[in-house]
Structure formats: C-alpha cells, structure tokens
C-alpha cells in the first residue's frame, strides 16, 4: 500500500444543508431552464409587439391592474414565510419548518386563487389574437411553475407531518424556499411585461 497515496474522508459529513449539496445544484439547474423558457417567451412577446400596429389590439384594450397588483402584494408578503422556512431548515428546527411550509402553502394557494382574476383582467381569450395568445402563454407558464411549487410544498409538508424528520427534509424545506424565491423573482419582470407594457400603447 505504500506506493499508493491515500486520502481519508471518514470524518466528512454525510449530509450538508446548503449550496454544496447535489440536490441544491439540481434545483438551480432546473430554475435556469425555467428562466430560459420565460426569457424565450418574453422574446416572443416583444417580437410580436414589434410587428403589431397597436399593442394590445384596440378591441381588446390593456389589462386591468387591480387583481394583478393585489396579487403582487400577496406574493411579496409570501417571501417572509419562505425566508423563515429557509432559515428554519438551516437550523434544523422541525417545529418551525412545519409552520412555515403550511404558511407557504396557504399564501401560495391564495396567490393561485387570485390568478383566476388576473386571467380575467386580460380582457381576452387566448384565441382572439397573437397578443392574447402570448399573454395567456406567459401567465400560463408562470402558473404551471406555481402549481409545481405548491405540489412540492404539499408533498414535503405531508411527509414532515407524518414521518420522522431527518437532514433530507431540512434540506428539502430550504429548497422549497429557494424554489419559491424563483417563483417570486420571475414574476416581478413578468408582471411588468404582462400588465404594464400593454399600457405603454
């Protein structure tokens, strides 16, 4: 054995709860893919807007702002439990991650319910014009991500309520928070694109 250099790793930890973990990297790759999908869709949006003589078409008119702005408020508030969830996971606080996962689920669901009125506020169905199609697409894509995040939150919540909590769950709780940051961060520019840009005329 003398010729072979050996490196002892027996005292390394078996789990880490932060950006060194593989699952964390996987989550980041996924958010990059999704962000790119949004970016391409927004590219399509401005491509179509460039071609249009009027944006939105006069018969449709710009979207209403009330529901979307109220919902934006809810989304911004929902960052608070997400941050707390993230921190509770880091500190391995089993009680708190249950509370904040539940809070995240409640606020996320509220956001999802109000999304119905956001779609209505577009004042058009998807099949009325290219403008309507791209608006529905962007709003729909964000809603799909939202649904995925809520399903993930629900699964982790059910698990931590019914089974013993280990390091895995603390990490998953943190990642649930991270994915929620992604939902919030992507919505900020998308809100501008979907609800404010059409008011520029």
């Amino acid at each position: 054995m003398s010729a072979v250099r050996e490196l002892d790793v027996s005292n390394l930890p078996d789990a880490v709860l932060d950006s060194r973990s593989l699952v964390w990297w996987g989550t980041i790759v996924m958010t990059v893919v999704e962000t790119m999908v949004f970016a391409i869709s927004v590219g399509g949006y401005f491509y179509l807007r460039n071609l249009a003589s009027a944006w939105p078409p006069p018969r449709i008119g710009p979207p209403a702002l009330t529901a979307a702005t109220v919902n934006l408020g809810i989304l911004l508030v929902s960052v608070i439990p997400a941050v707390l969830l993230d921190r509770a996971g880091k500190k391995r606080d089993a009680r708190k991650i249950k509370i904040y996962l539940a809070a995240n689920l409640v606020l996320g669901t509220a956001f999802l319910v109000l999304r119905y009125w956001e779609f209505k506020a577009l004042h058009c169905m998807w099949n009325q014009s290219a403008y309507a199609s791209i608006q529905w697409t962007i709003l729909g894509l964000h809603t799909t991500n939202l649904l995925t995040s809520l399903a993930e939150t629900a699964i982790v919540l059910i698990y931590v309520m019914t089974k013993p909590i280990e390091d895995h769950q603390f990490l998953d709780a943190r990642l649930d928070g991270v994915f929620w940051y992604f939902i919030v961060l992507t919505w900020l520019p998308l809100y501008v694109v979907v609800f404010l840009v059409p008011r520029l005329g």
Partner: protein, 633 residues
C-alpha cells in the same frame, strides 16, 4: 453488464485486502434481478447503454428510410415511393436522425462514460435519469406508431409553418410530432442536469478544472448548451401545438402572428442542436488521438476555450438558416460574420490535434482511422459551411442538394465518424471485449468511400439546381448520372453498417478479452475492470495530473468511504477538494410508472387536451411515493 463484481481481476488493486470492501459494495449497489428488474434500473451505465443501443436501432431505421429515398431518386421518374409517402419518409429520416439518433447517442455516451471518467459511482439523480430514458423511448414509439399508421409527420424535420399548421397539415400527424419533440426535450434536459452536476460536483479528489478529460469537458459544455437551447424548442413546440389545437394565433399573420417567429424559435434551438451533436464528437476525437499516440493532447487550455467559444458562437448563428427570408441586411451581415467566426475555434482544435499527431507514431487501429476520416470529411463540410455563410451564395443554393451535401458532411463527417471511432474505442470498456480489427478497417473503408460517393455528387446536383425534398425529377435535367452515383454510394454505406453489426455480434461472442486498459489510455474509465462493476470503483481514485493513468506514482485512492450505503463523494467545483458524502437512491419502479402516467397524458392530449391534465394529476401520488421511498430505502 451484470458481471458479478467478484470476477474483477485482482490486479486492478494492489493486494487483496479490498475483497471485503468489494463484496460489500457489490451488495450495497446491486441491481434488482429478474426481468421486472429492468424497469427498476437506475445505474448510469445501464441507462447510458440503453440510450446508445436504442439510438443505434433508430439509426438503422432512419438509414433504411434514407435507402428508400436513394432508391426512389436513383432514376428519373422513379415509382418506388409516391409523393405523399416520400414526404413522410424524409420527415421521418430527419426527425429520427436528429432527435432519436444523433442527440440521444451522444447523451448515452456521456451518461456511460462521464461518471467513470471523473471517478464517481453514479449520477446525482439516478431515478430522474431513468425517467429521461423512458421519455425518450416513448417518444420514439409514438413517432413510429404514427408512421406505421401512414399518418407520419410530413412537414420536414423543422416543420415550418404554415405548412405544419392546421390549414396544410390536418389530422393528428403533426400533433403527434409536436409531442414527440416534447419527449425528446424532457429527456435531453434531464441528462443535462445529471451530467452538469456530475462534472461540477462529483469529480475525484485532485481533478481540478484543468485536469478534467477533454471528453468530459465537451460533454459539460454540450449539456450547458442543452439547458439554454431546449427552452426555445419548448416554446416553439408549445406554440405550434396551441395554434393547432387551441386556436391561438402565434403564426397567423391575419391576427398579428408571424410565420417567421417559428423559424426564429426553432433555429434558436436548432442551430445549437448541431453543436450539441458535434461537441461530444470533438471530445471523442481528443480521447482517441491521445490513446492512439500515447500523448497528451497539445494545447489543453486552448482546446477547452475553443469548446466554450464554439458553444457561445453557436447561439449566434441561427439566422443563417433564414437568409432567404428577406431579413434586414444589417442582421444578415452580423450572422454572416458570426457564422464565419465559428471556423476559428474549430480551426484551433484541428491545429491542436495536428500538433499532437506531429512526429508521433500512432496506432493504426479502427478508432484512429475514423478520426482521420473525420478530418477529411469534416474539413469539406466546414468549407461548404463557410461558403453558405455568405448571403449571396446562400440565396443561390438555399434548399438545393448542395445544402443536403453540406450538412451531411458536417453531421456524418463531424459526428458519425467520430462516434464510430468512439464505439471502437470504448466498446472494450463497455462490453469487456475488443471489436475485430480487420472488420473494423473494412467498416471504415467502405463507410468512407460510400459516404463520399453518396454525398459529394450532391454538391454538384445543388449547383445544377436540384431542389431538396422533391420526390422525383425528369430525365432531361442532366441529373441522372450523379443521382445514380449517390444511390450506389448509399448501398456501399449500407454494406459498411452491416459489417459493423456483424463485427459487434462476432465480438460479443468471441472477441478478444479487453482487460482494464487495452489502449493504454490516460483517463479514469480505464482504471476499473471492463465492464466496470456496478459501483464503478472499489475505491474512489485520487488524481494528481491530467493523465492519471500515466502517472509514474500510480493512482491514489480515497479511504474511509462507508460501503454499506449508496454514497457519492461530493467535491468542490473548482479544485475538487472533498466536501462531504451524499447518499443517492437505489433501484425503483417509480421512474417507469411516472413516465408512463406523464407520457400517456401527453400522448392522449393529441386527441383530447385534458388527458395532459389527467396525466399530470395521476402523477402526483406517484411523486409522493417516489419522495417517500427515496427517503427510506
């Protein structure tokens, strides 16, 4: 593949105090046995091999389609295929070769080899990785399901609107095509996620960024390209799907849509796609040249930077597919410049290989011959590419056989020749036996002659104005001789591929045993037995140079990794210092089941949109089951 670990020759590790570790690793990492066990596989080698084999089946099928087209075009006014079937056949040929052969076979090679090359035991998300393969397989089954029912897609592999829209492609053929594309996107993105994290986080201790084997670099860069390119086709396919089935107006000019939006979105994916196929092939060439000459590749840093530069530039070229659409001249000039610029990093790589070969005494085995074939054919393909990058030339030659010749020189020359070389190079590792040398040389010679005989005349046909995708031509155009030559060449290529298959079958039965490192190559996949045990390495290697197996001091080893759990050693992304250990899940049927519910949902949505929703909802309990079983294995 299921060679029990005990048979591993003892000389892989000095001394046999490791027998205990070996036995326990084999038990911990064992696969599920029995035929049902096939649905449970999560080993990167098994999945990688499935990708490679499935892709080769599609390669043969698409080859038969190509042969059918050459049979039809061998004579003027041929009657072998009617125009409708001909349109389906060329669409199927292109779709199969691009989406079901070229990309997946590279994904498979990457999945099999990269974890071995960087010295880890499995990919980080083994179950997700299994989903990727099932999606790919379902997409292929769907594609050929529609074709067998004579409802195959027939709008070409890039499916331009309005031809691919409802008005000109009624029926479910195009709807199915869109879903087929979705299946391949999901599969490619999953492999990309797996391998990006593998390369950044699971390298053997000591393998800092400047010691990663060039093939692993090529795969890493390719996977990052997939992450940024696939979203464009997700958008394109989604929009086409909703235009066709929901009545949206993305591509309908009457309602503010635009047909060129499709071309932009498709080619923003489609051009990088070419590099997604081509970059892994470059990595293979580096591995083969290094093993054939027993030298390190000259200019490692320049090689890596060239790969990265190619990837960046690859995203700035898509409009050169659209020069004939009347874009603003300023834009065309920009894309001409970018298209010509791509020759620079490619040139850097070729000169580095030449420098490596200079004065060496390479081993003239089949892998090396295929690399030489690459140099010749790819050079021609690259030169015609520079020609086509010039707008006036492109306007003359657009949609002629010149373009067909060009991209076959690039794709077959640039990717299939290196791939065959790669198969000859790594087959001994994967299957434990050498492929036959004599048959290999014949395989190469016939493929090379047949290929050039098929495609070189097409340049000339293009100059003479023969358009691509026509099902026949009249005898007085002066195209008869060249077309016949091309068809004869296709027959020669078919013989070459048949020889390859015979070689594989013969070698599997009675090929020479390979041993661990038959080529005396430098990288870590050759440090374990052939085929490797399911856990890859008894002890994770520790490397101290770019060519760990050529180190005079021998390979170092990691100790203190518990063997009773499926643990990976996670390292830091830059210097590969050990960070921690992480457990990965074992065999499970969940990936198969969830692929089935999601996949059937997507397929069902061709006929009734709500099936997609039903499939997604049906997957939620499975997702929970997945999560629960991942937690307590």
């Amino acid at each position: 593949m299921s060679t029990p670990a005990k048979k591993t020759p003892p000389e892989t590790d000095p001394g046999e105090p490791l027998a205990g570790e070996r036995a326990e690793l084999a038990k911990t990492w064992r696969k599920r046995s029995g035929s049902l066990g096939l649905l449970f596989s999560v080993d990167h080698k098994t999945i990688g091999k499935r990708y490679i084999i499935t892709a080769f089946v599609f390669f043969l099928v698409a080859g038969v389609e190509a042969a059918a087209m050459r049979l039809q075009l061998a004579r003027p006014e041929g009657r072998f295929l009617n125009p409708d079937v001909y349109a389906q056949v060329f669409t199927m040929h292109g779709t199969t070769m691009m989406f079901f052969f070229a990309v997946p076979v590279m994904l498979g090679m990457g999945l099999y080899l990269v974890p071995l090359m960087v010295g880890t035991r499995n990919v980080p998300f083994p179950r997700l990785n299994a989903v990727g393969y099932w999606f790919y397989l379902m997409g292929g089954v769907l594609l050929y399901g529609t074709f067998v029912m004579n409802r195959g897609p027939d709008a070409g592999w890039f499916a331009y609107v309005p031809l691919s829209g409802n008005a000109y492609s009624a029926g479910h053929g195009m709807d199915a095509w869109v879903q087929i594309i979705n299946f391949t996107e999901v599969s490619a993105l999953i492999v990309a996620g797996s391998l990006i994290v593998t390369v950044f986080k699971q390298r053997a201790p000591g393998m800092s960024l400047n010691r990663i084997p060039l093939f692993a670099w090529a795969i890493l860069v390719t996977m990052i390209m997939i992450v940024f390119a696939m979203p464009a086709v997700i958008f394109a396919a989604g929009s086409l799907n909703s235009d066709r089935s929901l009545g949206t107006h993305f591509f309908n000019p009457a309602e503010g849509g635009d047909a060129l939006l499709w071309q932009h979105a498709f080619w923003f994916f489609g051009h990088p796609e070419v590099y997604i196929i081509f970059l892994p092939a470059l990595g293979m060439i580096s591995a083969i040249i290094s093993a054939s000459t027993r030298r390190q590749i000259f200019g490692y840093t320049a090689m890596v930077l060239a790969l990265v530069a190619t990837a960046f530039l690859g995203f700035g070229l898509w409009v050169h597919h659209m020069f004939a659409t009347g874009l603003p001249q300023m834009g065309e000039a920009f894309f001409t410049a970018a298209s010509m610029m791509i020759a620079i990093p490619t040139g850097v790589q070729i000169f580095c290989w030449i420098a490596t070969l200079w004065g060496s005494r390479p081993r003239w085995d089949p892998p090396f011959l295929f690399v030489l074939g690459f140099f010749f054919t790819f050079l021609i393909g690259g030169l015609t590419g520079v020609m086509l990058a010039s707008v006036p030339v492109d306007l003359q030659l657009h949609d002629t056989f010149f373009v067909v010749a060009h991209f076959h020189y690039v794709l077959i020359g640039g990717a299939v020749f290196p791939l065959f070389g790669g198969i000859y190079h790594w087959f001994p590792k994967i299957m434990g036996r050498m492929l036959g040398r004599t048959l290999g040389i014949w395989n190469f010679a016939l493929l090379f002659v047949g290929f050039n005989l098929t495609f070189f005349p097409m340049h000339e046909l293009g100059f003479h104005g023969m358009p691509r995708r026509v099902y026949t031509y009249s005898p007085d155009r002066g195209w008869n001789g060249l077309n016949l030559a091309a068809s004869i060449g296709a027959a020669v290529m078919a013989v070459a591929v048949a020889l390859f298959l015979i070689n594989v079958v013969q070698s599997l039965r009675r090929g020479r045993r390979a041993g661990d490192n038959p080529w005396d190559a430098e990288s870590l996949e050759w440090a374990t037995s052939s085929p490797p045990p399911v856990y890859n390495f008894v002890r994770i290697p520790v490397v101290s140079s770019r060519s760990p197996l050529w180190e005079p001091g021998g390979l170092g080893a990691v100790t203190g990794m518990p063997t009773d759990k499926r643990l990976l050693l996670v390292t830091h992304p830059l210097d590969a210092e050990p960070s921690h250990r992480e457990e990965v899940p074992g065999p499970s049927v969940n990936p198969f089941l969830i692929s089935l519910t999601m996949g059937l949902g997507l397929i069902g949505s061709i006929f009734w949109l709500w099936w997609a929703v039903i499939g997604a909802v049906a997957s939620i309990p499975l997702a929970y089951l997945w999560y629960v079983t991942e937690e307590d294995p």
